[in-house]
Amino acid sequence: MSTRLSNTGRLVNRSAVKNFTFNGKKMQGYEGDTLASALLANDQMLVGRSFKYHRPRGIVASGGEEPNALVNMGEGARFEPNQRTTTTELFDGLTCTSQNHWPSLEFDVGVANNYVARFLPAGFYYKTFMAPRAAWKHVFEPIIRQSAGLGKAPKEMDVDRYEHFYAFEDVVVVGGGIAGLQAAKAAADSGAQVMLMEQTTDWGGRAPVDGAVIDGKPADQWIDETVAALEAMENVTLRTRMMGAGVYDHGYITGYERVADHTPGDGRPRHRLWRIRAKQIVTATGAIERPLSFAGNDIPGVMLASAVRDYVVNYGVSIGEKTVVVTNNDDGYRTAIALVEAGLQVPMVVDARSEVEGELPNKARDLGIRVEAGKAIGKVKGGKRVTGVGICLQNGEGGALEEVKCDAVAMAGGWSPVVHLWSHCGGKLIWDETQAHFRPDANRAPTGANGEAFVLTAGIANGDMGTTEALASGDAAGKAAAKAAGHKASRKAAPKADVVAENAMAPVWIMPQNAGPDLRMKMWLDYQNDVKVSDVQLAAREGYESVEHTKRYTTLGMATDQGKLSNINGLAILADSLNAEIPQVGTTTFRPPYTPISMASIAGEARGEIFQPLRKTPMHDWIENNGAHFEPVGHWRRPYAYLQDGETVEEAVKREVKNTRRKLGLLDASTLGKIIVKGPDAGKFMDMMYTNMMSTLKVGKCRYGLMCNENGFLSDDGVVARMDEDTWLCHTTSGGADRIHGWMEEWLQTEWWDWDVYVANVTEQYAQVAVVGPNARKVLEKLGGMDVTKGSLPFMEWAEGQIGGFDTRVFRISFSGELSYEIAVPASQGRAFWDALMEAGEEFGVQPYGTECLHIMRAEKGFIMIGDETDGTIIPQDLGLNWAISKKKEDFLGKRAQERTFMTNPDRWKLVGLETLDGSVLPDGAYAIKEGDNDNGQRNMEGRVTSTYHSPTLGRGIAMGIIHNGPDRMGEVIEFGKVDGTMVKAKIVDQVFFDKNGEKQDV
């Protein structure tokens, strides 16, 4: 059994007891425990079930590489699946449950898969479940889905808070082990701005566990002193609980800080995502121990030797009373020694190497530990818990020599540097034969815009296995990074550690060497996804030879640990199967994040009301308080209609149209884009941007203009006003303002950079009100001020002056066909001006109107709407807007495109009005259907509806549409198809339905 020891545990505070529950069972741990160490202290070795065969799974590691010990954590709005117990700090009141089983962890029906595992090898699902065809969706897929997955989906809305921080650093050091600390210190000594992040709660990494002695002091003391020195430096930022998540181009690195995972509900943000721009990055990310592949290496109680050591030394937790250590290197002996020193039994160290000598093995022997060289574990006994191991010869086939009783197995398969962050942005690796691992190739580092490396690596992450070497490479990396960031490196020497001589490890990828298929089917590579040695060999046999094919075919390395434990072992097996060298097989791609990070941390503060910025006009509050039914328009919300008591939306729209046509309506037109174009070359520029001739527009005049993209398609429209000799004001659509501003800037910056033109988006600087209807002039005259009579301010002119004491710009333009003034005031005056208009307008029947009323009135007049009559495939000529295309200009954007054959083809669909014979409203987006099918069996079509409304003014449905040869077919009746297959008949008519001669607007 696993239990708490009385005499060890450097990280736990035994005076602070923490209560928690696992599967409803009450348990206790200490402050400083991880959830994993606390579970082990309570003899909870079995913590979950594997993905495919639902085999019992125990804790196997002590850090972020853990593939098995994932739990559903928390409840309700703080529920979270797949929480890794090895990286979860224990806190009082923590609740968690095990995953992926039914009905219980102990008795899981899904384990049936395990009993037929022989019939479910890698990729079996590609070879079956094909008949009958419908069964996949209705039978097989649902079963597979239910069986797969891990934790449960959260159900409630997350109540926690998340935020983003931004930082700019000279040097970011990832990893707070001794190499990282020394790198940070060396960089900081040069004066560089340094950030050091450590994913766990404690500094120092493995050195204290391994008993390192640095500069003559115990590692803990050296670490404390170094951290204290760094804390005292103003140019250093230290962060624990923060993982380097991803390295991106140009020194961009994300840090994932788990601020309050261990103090839920304390009001602080739960996670903080740091978005850091670093001149140089040092990855001192350590290494991960590899499992060994022997039969039954997945039975709970089999654990990484380093993890066994961590639990004993850091948390005072023993994994078992009798632990067999199996190793292919000297480091494994550290675990054996630590266990014996803690008073536990190590019946045997099984060493695959044929000769075992050296400082650590001899120390083990001196402690009375039996060391067996050239041996292997043939098979682990036990079901939900190890009960013993069968020992065999490493170079044999697995014939048992003896059986050793034990309740834990510590496996030491060598170390793989954590090269993830190095690799994210293109850093390359080299294969180190001596250590049998990939490590960063300093000559092929990730490079920045200047072609220089921006990532360095240090310590064991660089393959520097000895303590002294790790400190030296940390020191060198820190200095080099500071220098590359523009600082003069300090000349202090690196600290030195006491040397422990280690003999060479022996790569052992399968144990025993000549194991038959029966054993290979029980050697686990990927514990979570249930990928075995035999699966990788099967993939190779079937031709899935690329490492990516093998991965995808077997799912090796695709679990939540992303292959941190399994990848190297798996590709060694693959290489062996292919008779290739490991470096030729290569690795799969390392992708961010290093370990999974919360989606919420990526989203940050942006949720709910502030999910996206909400743009508000000065009148927004009034609109909100006066019955607005809103619709989103870009980041604005505009009133679709203003609902009065008891009204439906349709009724409100109808009322607004009638009131505006008969009396007086006010529209908040502030969202309308307003872009100033100014400069000596502004006229030339305007002539290029618009299809119309804008350079000749007289000061004081307005002109309706069209803008096309370089492909000739209509992209925006609006009224342009000439302000003065070198200034134009361009009105754009509400949704188009930012796009058109960007469009203008793009041309000015990339093509016409030598033109003297300045463009400014002043949309939010002005509030704008459309005062519309027969009484429009009356209300303005009542407010008093400038002369707004036809004589002084005729249609399509503008003037500046005062109205009701407000400084205004008044444009006599109309999108409704009514007498209309669009009046701009400084944004700060918008609300007051609106209130003044509402008050003064009361006697004239003023009512506000919304966007739908605006749309209907423009449709009644046959005015086009960008986004309705246009969709990115329409040229102005399609809409009968030839009059707005200058024939005098040599060039404008879209001119040449509009001369292309398909654009000038007379068969293009052209804009007309449409009236149903029965007066009904044509369906939105309906197509005009013609006889026959095309070559692909689709019905022939001859046009479509672009806008369709019920016209309150005319009391019937009206529509606009583009129809093949439409303008030549006036009076013809054509058919529009509904989605249900029935047809609606409509007559082709003039698109102007109301006030055809424009008399109402020009009074």
Binding site: M130, R541, P596, I602, E609, G867, D868, F902, G925
Partner: protein, 415 residues
């Protein structure tokens, strides 16, 4: 080829699965082929498959720079739908979708086509109008779609918040027979079938030059030497411009990275595919349990295939807003794929200035769903030398004529 079946698995289980044969052979290139296809992704392999199946042309080599299916076929978000607006698009994507329906049986390889339904959310008035228009068009294009209410959306996808404060769901365009498939299996299944027909799939073989004589293609130079051919089909999404350059002409397209990510696996919670174009994000759940999430394309041209951060931030925000449960899931992995994008965001299936050389490219962000239809159309073009009805509108001369097939009205973001 020995057929796959439950019986075959049982047979092999008895002998520890030692008897399975290779899914595809690994031959050395011959001196000459009738047709060389460059690119052993889904589109290239499908082209080869239908050359053999529909036209009996099997003296074919499929040459791949890396590993087969290793480009965008193996890195997309596996969505299959055909609810396109324009006639030529609807035709080819629906052809593809219908071929997916029987692909597992046709290839004797389970590609796990799962017609679970695809919905595209309308969250603005203009999106409602846009999708209603698509529904109308689809009704006469032989594509089964309907515009559904917010309540129906919620029934089909209970984890969705349809009452979000900023962009409440106003309806959706629903294609019940859209869905997903196992992307790798599509490439592997085609590869196995092609190999079985005697075609040569040559992996780790990079094309370094296109050889032509008198304006007519005669072969390619590769890292494994020169190989002759009568016809050459280039199907190398992402790097099409490079191959065109080797042959001496330019293509109207740019290459950009498209972003995607997956969550950790969880138990089944979402049975449909949801695309939300206003807020920029789309999501489905894989059979393995991961939430598969698609983002947008980077705003700069590149070939890196790397995950970048700004787009996934936007995407994840949108999804947390649309599916609140996403908030407490974790991102497992993010990546990028290189897509080549044309001026109208529709593909090019075309003859080229070099006689007997054909190009199929420019599927942009939506290529996976098109694989079988694209292969079908490309095979016809290669076999006959002239486009058939499916590809007739996708020639590259359309950019000279201005005859665009613009789907931007139907899909504002990556699809």
């Amino acid at each position: 080829m020995r057929r796959y079946s439950a019986f075959a698995i049982a047979r092999e289980a008895a002998r520890y699965h030692q008897g399975w044969e290779r899914a595809w052979a690994a031959p050395e290139p011959k001196k000459k082929y009738d047709v060389i296809i460059v690119g052993a992704g889904g589109h290239g392999l499908a082209t080869a498959f239908y050359l053999g199946k529909n036209f009996g042309i099997t003296n074919v080599a499929i040459i791949e720079k890396g590993w087969l299916g290793g480009g965008n076929t193996g890195r997309n978000t596996t969505i299959i739908r055909s609810n396109y607006l324009q006639d030529p698009s609807a035709a080819i994507y629906e052809k593809a979708r219908s071929l997916y329906e029987t692909m597992s049986q046709d290839l004797n390889y389970n590609v796990m086509f799962s017609p679970r339904g695809v919905m595209m959310l309308a969250q603005t008035e203009s999106e409602i109008r846009g999708y209603q228009r698509t529904a109308h068009a689809n009704a006469y294009q032989g594509v089964s779609t309907e515009f559904i209410s917010p309540q129906r959306v919620k029934e089909l996808c209970p984890i969705m918040n349809i009452d979000g404060p900023r962009y409440p769901v106003l309806g959706a365009l629903w294609q019940p027979r859209g869905g997903t498939a196992r992307h790798d299996a599509v490439a592997w299944g085609y590869a196995r079938a092609c190999s079985d027909m005697g075609m040569d799939i040559i992996q780790k073989c990079e094309v370094t030059g296109v050889r032509s004589e008198g304006g007519k293609v005669v072969g390619v130079d590769t890292s494994k030497g020169a190989i002759d051919c009568n016809k050459l089909a280039v199907v190398v999404a992402g790097h099409s411009s490079d191959l065109a350059q080797m042959a001496g002409f330019r293509l109207p397209m740019e290459s950009v990275a498209l972003q995607a990510l997956v969550s950790e696996p969880i138990k089944p919670c979402m049975d449909v595919v949801v695309m939300a174009n206003t807020v920029h994000g789309y999501m489905s759940q894989s059979d393995k349990g991961e939430m598969v999430i698609g983002g947008g394309t980077d705003a700069f041209n590149n070939y890196t295939q790397r995950g970048s951060f700004h787009h996934i931030e936007e995407t994840v925000r949108a999804l947390v807003e649309t599916f609140p449960m996403v908030s407490r899931l974790k991102m497992l992995r993010q990546w990028g794929g290189i897509v080549d994008v044309t001026g109208d965001r529709s593909p090019i299936i075309t003859k080229t200035p070099v006689q007997n050389m054909f190009i199929n490219a420019g599927w942009g962000t939506g290529g996976f769903k098109a694989i079988p239809g694209s292969g079908w159309a490309m095979a016809e073009l290669v076999a006959k030398g002239e486009p058939g009805p499916l590809s007739a509108e996708f020639g590259m001369n359309r950019f000279i004529e201005g005859r665009f097939i613009d789907e931007s009205v139907a899909a504002g973001v990556a699809h």
